[in-house]
Symmetry: C3
Subunit: 342 residues, 3 copies
């Protein structure tokens, strides 16, 4: 166990004056004991502050508790950032090194230093793996795939041939990178001919991709995932789509073929984009929206199926609920005016 | 083949008086031969009763056929339950035992009695597997994972370290348990820093989870799946979410981080829940709904994006379709009142 | 490199009169060099034609450029079909043969000629694999599975026992065929009993299925995927569902149990179908729609949640956005008529 003082010092808050206290680790307000360090960042949980058993709690600098709090309060600029650093401190780095003897690596594969390759993983010819990269069990790396430094590929990731992944990327289990895009040419007899998908997927640096996502290779050229992009789970990215730097996408959203998202966008869960459109940088899209045309204005906030301005959509939503009442008012007016409706 | 009498006896209906008949097995009305036992539970299929070739059909106790039926009719309280028991009877229990020599089990793993571990499966250190549990091929079991008795993990399931699974659970292929939750802290330069996800996933007893689901580990503490929960395919469960006992969720629904579903809820397909809300027990949510706030009232029925009362939503839906007519009526009134609109 | 003349001849356009030119390969307008052959099929990209560096461009027969074009223009009936053939020509067939020594094949498996089976793939008893079929690494093939000729199963595909796959099928990574359908019988104590799923999945010929799809086995009988069906990624097909010949379904759509789609349907992304309905042939459904009842009329076009006629739905959508204005107009009328509302 470390003292509270040591922890704060380790996360860059060494000048704070705190009581002597041993800390077992970070914990949520509702679960913390008096040996735990907790935090309050989202004010939805303010009430938990008043009943928590935590020994100490990180709170926003300007927050004034409305009731008495038993925990020692530590005021910081951003409790989210501070607790993240505490978690980092406590997340044990339990890392394996070496190529497991039950991994299978074909000829002409270039392996960096200090890598790990787990059992039942298969790396095909002419692939290259950068230094410090960890590849867990049961991963498939196709021919000519290039993976950068310090990446973390979890169990069962599948990467088709010719795809390129940058440095410091994390890819979670079950995600498939570089499968064929969905391209077919209709024939006169009603059947479809496959359009060969000869491009690849290029993923830049510092990207994290969740579990069971599917990112298709381009028909020609590359499907592109920019620097710092964060994708949640079960996300579909179609062929030739592009996602700009630092854009984040929540779970179960889908980006159709050839659509381009600008940088810094925030996309909610279960959102869908049609193909061949362009989304301006810093666009924010509410969960479950359907985006049917390009967004020109950077920083737009959109909602709905099809989506339009977020604020306007809230107004329409609100009246939608009152449609029965509106209809009734209309009928009353018609009665007054002696207009007869069936 | 068994006689019809034997089958009914085996499923607890031995006192029914039925003709001598050999039964090949259970079959749907439309596909049954005169050696098959079929059933009518959903009245949508009533017409198939009148044309079926089935030798015998399980029907509801109080059902009166509107036409002649060639099959022998067997009246039971609940044909669904009865046919399920027949299926049980006929589902051959073809079970392997032992640890396959091409499975790889690290040191300090605790293996129960009568288990099966398939080829290319990897079980990491300090995991434990309960008695009678079956783990198919190509499964990944991380460090310190605990799996209870009589579970069935299908090919390719991935379970990250420290997760806990109870007894009598079934997990289908491709499902990922315990990948990192989607947590990031925005930085001033527009990039995001990862929040380490140090918690786990706890799955209680008698849970069934379909294929290619993703259940993320908690940031701190546990993501929790209650006793008897049934999840369909391609379902997302975010970090620190909780699902109450006996709640069922249909395919492609998503539950965002820290949201808590009560017990006995029924959730349709492609439903989405925002994060940090609480859903009362026995809530029923229609397919494709978006749940944007907490539900207080147990037994609520909801529909829509965002969702509101099911019955009210049907009224709004119905008027939504007539909006062009409403607009026209409004314009006519304005004309009568000599209000000029562009 | 081939000459342009050679390429056109190889794709059946040998009688066109073109200049002498060496072609490196196919490329998109925006990325092509003067040694590349490009195409213009979607008029959204017309502007790229005027700035492209491509040496030659396939264009529709009747297209008249509005500006000068530096590339040589080649007029064809259907640029999409033509470029697909060029891609075919250039997609290197890099195929492995033989059973990898780290594949594991149980007894009584029937293997065709000229097949490939990759490392860490497991094929269980009594399965059969047709001639020229390629099975990549880490695939699971259950007992009694039958796979036809000339199929391509990518890394990590999982096929449960007794399923049947026809000829010329492509199945991408992570897809799960034949997991249990979602069938439970509610008990009086609020829990659910599993209905054994004893049927299978039957996939006909020339089917392509994307990544991480889930196609459940039937309770009894078969879940059926017709000839020439094309499924994108992350698609759910419930137990006993049927998809007619040449129907295409875009990513993240879900078809609930026992629902039957006719032939030649086109289903957008993120569409949901409730269970036990029938969809007429050639139905077209817009992305994100929810289909709550059967569609009788072949060739119907539908949109919305729940879906109705596509054209009508566009009208309602358009007025939905103007609901605040409509409400205001209504209030004005009430004021004129001295009707007082709160």
């Amino acid at each position: 166990m470390r003292t509270l003082k040591e922890i704060l010092k380790a996360i860059g808050l060494g000048d704070l004056d705190v009581p002597e206290m041993l800390v077992r680790g970070p914990a949520k307000l509702s679960e913390a004991t008096n040996q735990d360090l907790s935090f309050l960042a989202n004010m939805k949980y303010e009430n938990e502050l008043y009943s928590t058993n935590a020994g100490a709690v990180l709170i926003p600098f300007d927050f004034q508790p409305a009731q008495e709090v038993s925990a020692h309060l530590i005021r910081v600029d951003d409790p989210h950032t501070a607790i993240a650093k505490v978690l980092e401190l406590y997340s044990k780095v339990e890392r394996n090194y070496g190529v497991h003897q039950q991994a299978l690596i074909e000829q002409n594969v270039q392996l960096g230093e200090h890598i790990y390759v787990g059992p039942f993983t298969y790396i095909d010819e002419h692939a290259s793996i950068g230094d410090y990269t960890t590849i867990a069990a049961q991963v498939y790396i196709g021919k000519n795939v290039s993976i950068g430094r310090n990446c973390d590929l979890h169990a069962g990731v599948k990467i088709y041939n010719n795809c390129v992944i940058g440095d410091n990327c994390i890819i979670h289990s079950g995600t498939v990178i570089g499968a064929d895009g969905f391209g077919f040419v209709p024939q006169k007899d009603g059947s479809y001919n496959k359009v060969p998908q000869t491009g690849n997927v290029v993923i830049k640096n510092n990207v994290e991709i969740g579990s069971n996502c599917t990112i298709d290779r381009a028909t020609m050229g590359s499907t592109l995932i920019g620097n710092g992009v964060k994708l949640d789970n079960l996300i579909q990215v179609g062929h030739n789509a592009e996602i700009g730097d630092n854009t984040v996408v929540a779970a179960q959203s889908g980006i159709s073929g050839s659509t381009k998202l600008g940088e810094g966008c925030m996309i909610g869960g279960q959102v869908g984009f049609v193909g061949h459109i362009t989304i301006a940088p810093f666009t924010m899209i509410n969960a479950k929206s359907g985006i049917s045309k390009s967004v020109q204005q950077p920083g737009s906030k959109l909602n709905g199926i099809p989506a339009f301005s977020f604020n306007d959509s809230l107004r329409s939503q609100s009246i939608y609920r009152k449609l029965p009442e509106l209809q009734k008012r209309l009928s009353e007016i018609e009665e007054i005016l002696s207009l007869h409706r069936k």
